[in-house]
Symmetry: C2
Subunit: 110 residues, 2 copies
DNA sequence: CATCTTTATCGTAATATTGCAATAAAAGAA
DNA sequence: TTCTTTTATTGCAATATTACGATAAAGATG
């Protein structure tokens, strides 16, 4: 035991939870919000702005990249990171759907 | 080391990550979707529908309740759980805002 | 070339999460 | 009250996450 039993759930449920897990940390929320605000998205800039060490930020960036939340491109010596609109639209659509279905139910049982 | 350094981030960033962490597991996504679909939300019903043990489901329900995602009310011998629309609207608003801001930027740098 | 800058990876310690058997707690039924 | 049903809690093993120093890798610069 100890590990999440992914195999017991649907691919869509696992996919959704993977996306949310990739944002389930304040540093990764901070990275999302920084990339949303700033023009430049050089990796070193992110490291400078956040109060964690360079290896730690690099690890967070990799998790976000593996989940498809951000894209990275080589820019000479450094790496340019930015948000992946497609993935963020998926999350928007998911929670829009949830709120909408919930409003239609309105069988407030609690 | 090892623990998340929450104190280095803003209250809003921590709050957002807490909400997302409470959904960052396929079982908790499955619970969300079950409560969205079903009329009845008796705890035992959730346990019957999901492929995990009763103590494990109880633990997931507690995490979702502590994050404010679900509400629970005593119903005689059992507990009735249902989704908290306010919290889910917050998530919808958050990701709607992200997608909108991202569309306005459109400085596709990667 | 050698050196500097930038980012990624390795290794590891500290901590958190996941899952469940066993058990407790709480309320209804007999 | 005693028994049953329902949910929560405890305790623990397995695994995952977080953070960072040290170091490697890759490209720029002199």
């Amino acid at each position: 035991m100890g590990a999440t039993k992914n195999e017991l759930f649907s691919a869509r449920q696992n996919g959704t939870s993977v996306l949310l897990k990739a944002l389930a940390h304040p540093a990764r929320i901070a990275i999302l919000e920084l990339l949303l605000k700033e023009e430049s998205c050089i990796c070193g800039h992110i490291v400078d702005k956040l109060p964690l060490s360079q290896p730690t930020i690099s690890q967070h960036l990799r998790e976000m990249k593996e989940a498809g939340l951000i894209l990275g491109s080589v820019e000479g010596n450094s790496i340019c990171y930015c948000l992946n609109p497609d993935t963020l639209d998926k999350l928007r659509d998911y929670f829009s759907g949830v709120s909408e279905k919930l409003k239609k139910k309105s069988i407030a049982c609690c």
